[in-house]
Symmetry: C2
Subunit: 352 residues, 2 copies
Amino acid sequence: MTNELDFEGWTCPAPLRSYPNVILGHGGGGKLSAELVEHLFVPAFRNDKLEALGDAAVFSLNGSRLAMSTDSFVVRPLFFPGGNIGDLAVNGTVNDISMSGARPLYLSAGFIIEEGLPMQTLAQIVDSMAAAAAKAGVTLITGDTKVVDKGHGDGVYINTSGIGLIPDGLEIGPDRARPGDVVILNGTIGDHGMAIMSVREGLAFESPIVSDTAALNGLIATMIQACPQIHVLRDPTRGGVASSLNEIAHSSGVGIILDEKKIPVHQSVHSACELLGMDPIYVANEGKLLAIVPAEQAETVTAVMRGHELGQDTAVIGQVVAEYPGLLVAKTGIGGTRVIPMQIGEQLPRIC
Amino acid sequence: MTNELDFEGWTCPAPLRSYPNVILGHGGGGKLSAELVEHLFVPAFRNDKLEALGDAAVFSLNGSRLAMSTDSFVVRPLFFPGGNIGDLAVNGTVNDISMSGARPLYLSAGFIIEEGLPMQTLAQIVDSMAAAAAKAGVTLITGDTKVVDKGHGDGVYINTSGIGLIPDGLEIGPDRARPGDVVILNGTIGDHGMAIMSVREGLAFESPIVSDTAALNGLIATMIQACPQIHVLRDPTRGGVASSLNEIAHSSGVGIILDEKKIPVHQSVHSACELLGMDPIYVANEGKLLAIVPAEQAETVTAVMRGHELGQDTAVIGQVVAEYPGLLVAKTGIGGTRVIPMQIGEQLPRIC
């Protein structure tokens, strides 16, 4: 056991070097998060399943292919338009498992409760978790409760972990995007992040912004049935669509050209983003997925998606290309290209 | 989704009724924790796997029997004699999985980091996790990092969840203790809890108290090989030996007679407990197990346990009887019996 970080062994740019302490941005799902994973967690635990860096880890057991995922939820406030930390925690892990193509089956829940949380609040959150689990068709089979002293938590933090079974024949992963593929999105972006922000900032719009939190496993099952050749699935949560597509471009060693005009955004989300100086493509979603599929399958996939309640606003928003490997780019109005970088730190702290 | 607790539907005694808010004791692993599970979590999520209330949940998948467990760690301080929150988090979940008889295979890790945690501290903890995982022979395959603002955490909280494979033919569970069985313990009790307390209280003893944190899967594999008929395995963590045996007595509908004099306790732990007014049988352990086996197997099991580095002080500490169903009792010096109740609340907050 070494007690010192080996700063020398790190690759350039060595970002942790510049951060002697953890900052909020390290939990933001952007570049700082990725660097923490790349330079601290992966070197410590090094193994191929972890290093695949999917939303879920995939492993084989007695001939079955399983997916496992974990996610801690620290969203503030606990209740927001469209949901609360409870259904968010269930849907989040259901979605992470589903992004491997797996059918999510079983969840665990770990509660870290701050002393003084009203029992009624806890019951309401647990009730929402149970309803979300029932709706997604998963079973919560084990749990744990810890209580921390007042001032050392924030009401309740919830970790959910889960297990799913990957149907035979599927090969879905963030490293499988290929030039010629298209990028499909199942609806409007930014709803979850801006629902949270509108509560925090006390913003009121004509049509209130509601979180899109939802379990995507049903939609994905439909998509896989129509097109088992899906290459990549990813839910653009923290860091938004821009960060997820950057990660895929990086993992697959391809370029992704984004057609920003095609991305559906609610008017109220657009207004809120303008007001707060944010770009919706960096804002968190909790009921959205990016699917990367061979171009010849695009029509089939978008058709079944539009027929599903969670995919009515499905749009093709980009192409995978051999140029610009590792980069996400957009065409500018005057015919040039502009790189859309990964978010660096934390645009919206504690969004999930 | 109901937004109100149904107080009417609760069975007597309805303990949550008396607690409008969550208190530290609800996380103590004693009676309050059990009541929270029984009256709030189980009714919400009701299913046979959860209701088995084992340290791990057991389920079948494509013909394999798997065990899944989750645990959040909020120990204070993060570093203590004999370990830190990192190895504790790995060993804790490895042990919970192992108590079902499963061979633990894969773990996840979810970090909730408080803004400002020195990167060096995080690296040291992660390093200990990696070392503990390597020693236990498990692989950490997926993770998640969240950062909360200063004053809403306590350095770092870690959730670990995990999956194990149960060998064919094993039937181990908290409801399987039978009259005639004996209760075996693999060594001294109270070391973990009193190691933490001695740091918190600034106590110094001639021989310092060191946490017993250790992965028990190796010891259990040896025991199972020698005696596949083990009925119950349980690690007496929060709430100690007394609470674990109470839970087993309750689940199995049997009485357990404890022979307190046979329980090994380090002299320094004994002294610390006296000083602080605590009873070691309620103090948390992190490298101990209780095994309940048919009397005719006791000699075989204790022999292999004593041959293992984590079982040198193995002792038979009790018998399972048909009398006193649901109770843990001790023989008094004058030949009577005395009930040893479950711990009510929290003797040692934030012990794991």
